[in-house]
Symmetry: C2
Subunit: 405 residues, 2 copies
């Protein structure tokens, strides 16, 4: 359930790239929607498919920047984007599958593939178009070369302790106060110290729920708030002045994701150009990347590097279908090779739908433990895919006739 | 042919709303792409169709703001937008059909429907969400009420003289110098005084072509340039400093359409939130609306009103499939009821594909003459639709097997 959405029912576009190699390895990519939009995304994936079909993986990753640009500047499809909405989600799904395939062929999880990669090769995966006014290829190289210092120690640290996470599972808008209390108590028991609460539907309701959660977690633990784009700018200012007494670390998506000048504190965006401006305008105190909304690892790399340049902490968005599985690779790489800091940094965690993944996230003591299986953790269980495939899966066969009545 | 697009081949999503009324009137709506993206847009139109099916037109236009919000905030589809890319194009096509239907039922062209509409009703068509920090409902009402003064005279003036246009038909990037000269000579003969040239592929080539056109049209006539998002910010600054000697009135889309802070002079955008910021940031000297990219008349109204508040001239984007037919209604309404000024204002014209429309634009002495037929001029000729329908139309039946070989 997602707060701003009255009838959410996650579904995902799941891309599988097969090859003619004898290793039988498949690259799996994913992007999700809140339900019905997925057939539109699948339609866009099909429109992009010709870029991948009958291509050699070596040629694709050998000129990954060129390939990224081919996908995002498809002469025919540029008009329906570019780099936003349906087409960009489809791009993410396709590229996520390419990264999964590449990492599997290298026998490494994506985070380790990135950590071990030569800085020049890393930089060659990034399209710097529209961001060279704040980050050039040379800037990126310099950051990555500096990141080599202390890398080994940070990798060890990650393997031992994992990457700090916060939980959004306790405080969705639809929950009763009792459920809120129960989930919160359980989370505290499980070692969670950072909690996100959804707000923005009703101010009185928000005040009561924030009071409950602040009372339960005490004054020291961290509370974040997420408004899911519910407000106009003046409304956001007024509302948040009332909620300030509960001491939120940040307020997420207070208004339209397109409103750069109206923004505040933390935002997830649809591409690197929007992130660039939020950084330039000093409109961000935290930056939220998204592994299924940006153009896969490639575009996320450019955003991680810009964040480093502006010294803004990255706190990834997760949840949905598979976001946790994917984004852990990016943030672990960021710590080891780019930011080298955990200060004010934390990755979202939602305890939802992991059971469908072949390599689900491992949380220990409120931290993401680095995955060890090769790939991008994107592969779903065969059984889950079969059951949930639209419209022929067992789950849909039950649902669809019921909806028609 | 469009400059930034190597294999353009316009296609359009064409929405027809039929009703059970005995008048047999149909509402036709359109949005176009550069070719292959259209099947993705059609998929999104189908995902939105349930908002219109079995609804009463009176209920829709009676709470048009609510209906607009329903479409753009569809709980399931919000994630794949919101208000951008494929989903927003689909929204435009559906709403364009609703406006066509409404205007036909009222027996008026859309511009006249708007001009005659009570300011309160007009305002009730607009969703002010995310723009109330610069334009409230009260601001909008005040602007429209002031616009009543002198309205009758301006309407007469439009009917007699039309709305000033400029032509983009002479100077596409692919044209040879000879073709450029020929088209330019013909356009001068036809009374055109304002010309747009496409730039950005090759600087030397641009210098030569701009010299040719400036020589032909002389120092007094107006020259605009359009870079179709080809540049990064530093590149745009360098390039344009070289082209400045040809005295362009504006440079259009120098960089990513998402780059608000990097923008300059003139831009078409995908929604009112982006326009709002361009106005706030004083990054615009001209504003380009688009009748198939923004959320139909409804969202264009909000942009016209914001432009009036900031006193920025609106110079609509046209071309594509049917853009000229639609946008003339908006700009004629703008002159009569909102801006009341023609200073620095001019509407794009491209002489392309008008033959497929039942009520094609009428250009006289380089001006758009106000259409008199009821509706939004969106209806296509039956014969054209039949021939060009994908994939069963005659044109496609010839094309598709040829492509397969």
């Amino acid at each position: 359930m997602v707060s701003a959405h009255t009838d959410p029912d996650y579904s995902a576009a799941y891309v599988v790239i097969e090859t003619d190699a004898e290793d039988g390895i498949k690259g799996c990519g994913i992007t999700f929607t809140l339900g019905k939009g997925t057939e539109v995304v699948v339609c866009a994936v099909n429109a992009l498919a010709h870029h991948v079909l009958n291509k050699d993986l070596k040629d694709i990753v050998g000129d990954f920047r060129g390939f990224y640009r081919q996908l995002t500047s498809d002469g025919q499809l540029r008009w329906i984007g570019p780099e936003k909405g349906v087409v960009h989600l489809a791009t993410a799904a396709v590229l996520n599958a390419v990264w999964d395939l590449w990492a599997k062929q290298e026998g490494k999880p994506v985070w380790k593939l990135l950590v071990d990669m030569d800085p020049r090769t890393l930089v060659s995966c990034i399209d710097f178009r529209y961001i060279t006014d704040v980050l050039t290829e040379e800037d990126a190289l310099e950051i990555l070369q500096k990141g080599q210092v202390g890398k080994k120690e940070r990798e060890k640290q990650m393997l031992a302790q994992g990457y700090p996470a916060y939980t959004t599972s306790c405080a969705w808008l639809g929950y009763s106060d009792d459920t809120l209390k129960q989930l919160c108590a359980q989370a505290l028991k499980d070692g969670w110290t950072r909690f996100k609460v959804k707000v923005g539907a009703d101010l009185q309701d928000d005040m009561r729920r924030c009071q409950i959660i602040r009372d339960m977690i005490g004054p020291e633990k961290t509370l974040m708030m997420d408004a899911n784009q519910r407000w106009d700018v003046p409304e956001a200012v007024e509302w948040m002045s009332k909620l300030a007494k509960f001491k939120p670390l940040w307020i997420e998506e207070p208004t339209s994701p397109d409103d750069i000048l109206g923004h505040a504190t933390i935002s997830r965006c649809h591409n690197r150009v929007i992130f660039k401006q939020l950084l330039q305008a000093k409109a961000l105190q935290f930056l939220q990347i998204d592994s299924c909304r940006l153009g896969s690892v490639n575009e996320n790399l450019s955003v991680l590097l810009m964040a480093k340049k502006f010294e803004i902490p990255v706190c990834p968005h997760a949840g949905g279908v598979g976001l946790c599985e994917l984004v852990q690779h990016l943030i672990i790489f960021d710590y080891i090779s780019v930011s080298a800091s955990l200060e004010n940094r934390v990755c979202e965690y939602v305890d939802h739908l992991h059971e469908h993944f072949k390599y689900p996230v491992m949380i220990q003591q409120a931290s993401y433990m680095p995955p060890k299986d090769p790939g991008y953790s994107t592969e779903m269980k065969e059984e889950s895919v079969k059951k949930h495939q639209y419209p022929d899966g067992e789950v849909w066969k039950k649902l669809l006739p019921a909806q028609e009545n």
